[in-house]
Symmetry: C2
Subunit: 236 residues, 2 copies
């Protein structure tokens, strides 16, 4: 019943209400607004490293970017929109980092799964302030929740397909529906990383977290921590 209503992907674009490309056409190069916008983004990521998202006011963001509070609204419709833009950059980076490792599982399953988890770990760890802030406001902000659900769905589908592929080639046994398994494993990673980066409550040491997650993934998918690289020849 919170009702977000309209709000769509253009939440980050306050200016140029026309559907055309922003700030392009008349002025070929960068307008002054681009500088301000990136300044706000930079200020936000810097401030997030120092205090919680809720303790950062719009005035802080504006002052940090060298503008007044009303001017902030010229660039972003709300504080949350800034975080959304930051999250967008991180998830894109994560997607790029993941690459096509899942297509090359048969080469060496254990090594490839580890590569996947390690790359996500590196990406999130490199922007932990943003990731933590998003996890914190996901509860209160429908837009962040929606965007996160979208990227998670994408990763779940990729893992689901990979599990099914491994089952088809005989490397992984049948069992849980691949989608359910993919959801459970992705969920585990998310929560474990959060605890590790946040450092509150029971957490796995940052040094060990990739191998711990990998172990659970492998046993859940293959029932062993040493899955075969080539199809097993079934007797009969």
């Amino acid at each position: 019943m919170v009702s977000t209503g309209v709000a769509s992907a253009d939440m980050t674009a306050a200016r140029t209400p026309t559907g055309t490309a922003p700030t392009r056409g008349r002025r070929p190069g960068r307008s002054i607004g681009d500088d301000r916008e990136t300044a706000i983004l930079a200020t936000a990521e810097r401030l997030l490293g120092q205090r919680a998202f809720g303790d950062i006011s719009i005035d802080d963001l504006a002052r940090g970017a060298g503008i007044s509070r009303p001017t902030f609204y010229f660039y972003f419709p709300s504080k949350d929109a800034v975080l959304l833009a930051l999250l967008d950059r991180v998830t894109e980076e994560a997607n790029a980092a993941a690459g096509d490792v899942l297509d090359r599982l048969a080469e060496d399953p254990r090594a490839r799964w580890r590569e996947l988890i390690a790359r996500f770990h590196a990406t999130f760890g490199g922007h932990r302030a943003v990731v933590l802030a998003c996890a914190q406001v996901r509860g209160t902000n429908a837009e962040v929740r929606r965007l996160w659900a979208e990227v998670l769905e994408r990763w779940v589908r990729a893992v689901e397909a990979a599990i099914e592929s491994e089952r088809r080639r005989g490397a992984a046994p049948d069992g849980l529906p691949a989608r359910d398994l993919a959801i459970a494993l992705n969920s585990m990673n998310e929560r474990v990383w959060y605890a590790t980066f946040a450092g509150d409550g029971p957490a796995v040491a940052e040094r060990d977290v990739v191998d711990v997650l990998l172990d659970v993934w492998l046993t859940a998918i293959y029932r062993t921590t040493a899955p075969p690289a080539r199809p097993v020849s079934r007797p009969g």
Copy 2:
């Protein structure tokens, strides 16, 4: 740097600043204040079923309990303290529901682990509004975060001990440090339940969630979904 400072377990007790038992001594039975207090709690849990915690004002809580806003502060120091009291009741119920199943694992490991997970599921599902609200504000409220970390630590320790016990009796193979494994599995459950109850993003169907979690637990701990009830006789 948010600095909670003093804040301790007495966050829920605003009245009777003396260290003695609250409202006891002069009046033997229940004072009118007890009614108000439970009315606030009941209003909070009811309202949480309708809208998010952040969209509930202290005035809403007060009006719902038939008192004015300032009077609310006589009973609770803040809105968060109400949620904390609610969470306290739920975790106590969960602890009670868990009982001693972990001490009876050897009888029938699969059945006992399933019982444990199913009981937690039932408890959380019965108070999903409270659980969801806590997950949402854990990011912004240090007290909720601390309390949740405490109860999680307790469960992690219990599971860790159970895993080590299963390894000692030869039912479970060695592998990851038991504590890391316990953290990963508990984290998974928390996040998966959250998604299932919240219904946003990729989630396991509520009907299946216990069996999905169970499967991952068993494979991670035993490398099989059918762990032995009695010690295996090792060759040699």
